[in-house]
């Protein structure tokens, strides 16, 4: 038995943490790549980083690493910043303190407090990788503590849904920026950019183990989109999403439900049976936008079935 509001907060707790981790990693890689400028005088390319994170900032995109760090890592008035995501995750955790374990709460609260301290420290702006590391380690540890100290019941499944839905969606967006049109695919297909893409998904080591260090665009897309074993691939996320949504449908068997797990099943099946060469020769942008659409539908279906349902439909006869 789980309160709808609690399910909602658990979902957003892990979704925000996943977002914080992803944003921190993508930007950390971008700041790192920017230091290896090639002969053409490659700029920081923050615009593309913004694009791949789908940041909706209206004001000017910063032109210096310091600007990026203050705006997208540390600015708590910017709802999309890493610090804001962690604060939002912590605020959701605070709503469900009786549902999660004390260890989980203490950890996410500790992460929040550490970041607040970093925000207050003027030297932080010059140490972006230290913040990224704190966030990445903090979220990974949270995941481990969650798996080890919370019953893997309905509440835990909502944490999985939040995490893997965010991951599928964000990875698809990241891939879309790299593969959406042929020109860009050519120009950006440089080794350095592809390695950067893999690193943005913490996938470089796993990729090399699988394909060797021979980094090619089609293989990178295949690995990050269709890879069955790598936990940050879209297909992997879709599979876990489907599993968790099926489990949730079972926990709540009295309700019609079922819609969310069917959409997730459809997404998972499509990824199971797609071929990377067909996607590339056909319309990679269209395919990746389709993934994002499925993610939106899953989100809406979860709300409709479990969280925001109309009370009249649920009253006793």
């Amino acid at each position: 038995m789980l309160l709808s509001r609690t399910a909602d907060a658990l979902y957003w707790l892990s979704r925000y943490l996943e977002r914080a981790e992803h944003t921190a990693r993508v930007l950390s890689v971008r700041l790192d790549l920017g230091l290896d400028r090639d002969a053409r005088g490659d700029h920081w390319d923050f615009e593309r980083a913004y694009d791949s994170l789908r940041l909706t900032l209206t004001n000017a995109i910063p032109s210096t690493p310091g600007g990026l760090v203050s705006r997208v890592f540390l600015d708590s008035t910017n709802a999309e910043s890493v610090v804001s995501c962690v604060s939002a995750a912590r605020a959701n955790a605070r709503q469900v303190r009786e549902e999660i374990s004390s260890d989980m709460w203490a950890h996410v609260n500790g992460l929040y407090l550490r970041l607040q301290q970093m925000v207050g420290d003027s030297s932080t702006v010059s140490r972006p990788h230290a913040i990224a590391q704190t966030v990445i380690e903090g979220t990974q540890l949270f995941q481990g503590i969650t798996d080890a100290t919370m019953g893997h019941g309905e509440g835990w499944q909502y944490l999985q849904v939040g995490r893997f839905l965010e991951r599928a969606d964000a990875t698809a967006a990241l891939l879309d920026v790299h593969f959406r049109d042929a020109d860009v695919r050519g120009a950006r297909g440089t080794h350095q950019e592809l390695v950067g893409l893999l690193r943005s998904c913490a996938a470089l080591d796993a990729y090399c183990r699988y394909y060797t260090a021979d980094v090619r665009p089609d293989r990178v897309l295949e690995f990050l989109l269709l890879g069955p074993e790598f936990p940050r691939s879209v297909r992997f996320a879709a599979r876990r999403l489907e599993m968790s949504l099926k489990a949730i449908a079972q926990f709540t068997s009295k309700r019609a439900g079922g819609k969310a797990d069917r959409v997730a099943g459809r997404l998972h099946a499509s990824l199971d049976y797609s071929q990377v060469d067909e996607i590339l020769s056909d319309d990679p942008h269209g395919y990746l936008v389709g993934v994002a659409k499925h993610c939106d539908q899953i989100h809406a279906a979860v709300y409709q079935s479990y969280i925001g349902y109309a009370v009249e439909t649920a009253l006793p006869a």
């Binding site: 038995m1 789980l2 309160l3 709808s4 509001r5 609690t6 399910a7 605020a91 605070r94 709503q95 303190r97 009786e98 004390s102 709460w105 203490a106 609260n109 500790g110 407090l113 309905e154 949730i248 926990f251 709540t252 068997s253 009295k254 309700r255 479990y306 969280i307 349902y309 009370v311 649920a314 009253l315 006793p316």
Partner: protein
């Protein structure tokens, strides 16, 4: 008066006061650790010895460790009136306050007696009103109380338990006797600090426990759940319990979440609940689920916008009717605030005598009722010696502490009293007992009170301990968390 080293003591095991106690003064009040002679009390000797063996940096380090533990665990309260919504830790003092087994047993009997009488009183007031017709308590006093709920007239309350959870504030007078300063019978808070203080104490100062048999407090959650279980309607064999909170913005939110977790029940907010055909449901992922017992941490006023304050966003429309229909139990019941009204407080000893034909085991503080002309005349003459309290206020607000007041403040209170005497009481300025506290540069005496939590179900359960609140400002008598108060772990010894 300052101790002379080794004053009056020849026992070999006792060393003279260490440097740590150089700022420690025994006043005219009772000292929780030391005899008036300067000797540590028998039951405090082992603790005192341990303290002498500690250095200042060591104490500071442990203090830091404790503060960090509270902050990381989010054992915090929100300060009202602070627009930032800042969460602060409730200042925690490192040194435990010790209560002996015999002292505790007297308190236990006294508190059980008091709450038994109060529950009988509440039933009587909302039903036949015997205590009025026999002239023990004036009818007007109860009917004029703003916590009186006429909606509760004639309503059957399951097992006649109105107050399931009480927090009674005790202070220790100069002669060592505990007296009741006030009863908290609506939504007493602070019990989570009793449990959290102990948990942190065991972590940062395990060695101090070695020479004592300290009664554990961790089972409070289970005791609370069993107490709530007695309220469940008999027709519901497998009842659903919830804790109802105003939400994360409430200053006691940590405690609400803590109690829900300790009991293993959902923590709900008003919008999670709805009433249909006088039955209360909560919204779950699997649809609506019936709720049987609500431990509510919301005041009467905000419980049901249809019955009480219509602007309440915190409550549940229709809850009162569901309650009156007997379909849901509330702890505490609606309307218990009449019994912790500060003016009614003066009648509690008579209430105990009336219902139980017993003498009160724990005394009250002498109290002047300002709508009695003779009391009022005396109080207005002696404002500079007395403490005046507004009857409906809590948290240390709306109070005049005579000896510490300016003539302007006294004049202000004089006008308020004359305008609305029913709204005020006065009491002599008490000398609260003091206990040793670590103040950063050494150990000093600070005034303390004690709030044990009394659970009234099948039987009366009092988890041995309570919240010892400390007035951290030197010389201050105000222990409230909102006004510079802190707390310390409270040890009840098992013999």
């Amino acid at each position: 008066m300052t101790f002379a080293a080794g004053a009056g003591g020849t026992t070999e095991t006792l060393k003279p006061f260490g440097a740590m106690f150089s700022d420690y003064h025994l006043g005219h009040h009772y000292d929780e650790m030391f005899e008036p002679s300067g000797q540590p009390r028998l039951h405090c000797r082992a603790l005192y010895q341990d303290l002498l063996g500690l250095s200042l940096p060591e104490l500071r380090e442990r203090q830091g460790e404790a503060d960090r533990a509270f902050l990381t665990q989010g054992v915090t309260f929100t300060v009202y009136g602070d627009t930032q919504g800042t969460e602060r830790i409730f200042p925690y003092d490192l040194l435990p306050r010790i209560i002996t087994g015999p002292e505790w047993r007297t308190l236990e009997r006294g508190l059980a007696q008091r709450l038994t009488a109060i529950n009988l009183f509440l039933k009587d007031v909302y039903h036949e009103g015997r205590i009025f017709s026999e002239g023990v308590v004036p009818r007007e006093l109860v009917y004029s109380c703003r916590h009186y709920r006429r909606e509760m007239r004639g309503v059957h309350v399951n097992r006649d338990i109105y107050v399931s959870i009480a927090g009674t504030d005790l202070v220790r007078l100069q002669d060592g006797r505990f007296v009741v300063l006030e009863d908290n019978l609506r939504v007493p808070s602070g019990v989570s600090y009793m449990v959290a203080n102990r948990a942190v104490m065991k972590r940062v100062f395990p060695a101090l426990f070695e020479r004592y048999n300290v009664a554990p407090v961790a089972e409070y959650g289970q005791a609370l759940l069993s107490t709530l279980r007695t309220l469940a309607p008999a027709s519901r064999p497998d009842p659903t319990f919830v804790v109802l909170t105003p939400g994360v913005g409430n200053s006691a939110y940590f405690e609400h979440a803590f109690l829900a977790r300790e009991m293993g029940v959902p923590l709900v907010e008003g919008p999670d609940l709805l009433v249909h055909d006088n039955i209360v449901y909560m919204r779950t992922t699997a649809g609506l689920r019936r709720v049987d017992v609500i431990y509510r941490r919301i005041d009467d006023d905000f419980l049901d916008p249809l019955a009480f304050r219509p602007d309440s966003q915190l409550g549940v429309p229709g809850l009162l009717n569901a309650y009156r229909a007997g379909n849901v139990a509330l702890a505490n019941a609606i309307g218990t605030g009449i019994a912790d009204d500060k003016a009614l407080y003066a009648y509690i000893p008579d209430i105990i005598r009336f219902y139980l034909s017993e003498e009160p085991i724990i005394d009250n503080v002498q109290t002047y009722l300002l709508d009695r002309p003779s009391d009022r005349a005396y109080v207005l003459e002696h404002l500079d010696e007395l403490v005046v309290k507004a009857v409906g206020e809590s948290g240390g607000y709306g109070m005049l502490i005579g000896p510490h007041s300016t003539s302007d403040e006294r004049e202000q209170f004089r006008r308020k009293i004359v305008a609305d005497p029913r709204n005020f009481i006065a009491q002599p300025t008490l000398s609260l007992s003091q206990a040793p506290c670590f103040m950063g540069t050494g150990i000093e005496g600070r005034h303390v009170d004690l709030r044990p939590y009394v659970l009234y179900g099948e039987k009366v359960t009092i988890v041995p301990g309570g919240l010892t609140r400390v007035a951290l400002r030197k010389g201050s008598l105000v222990v409230n968390s909102s006004q510079g108060g802190g707390s310390k772990d409270t040890w009840v010894l098992e013999d």
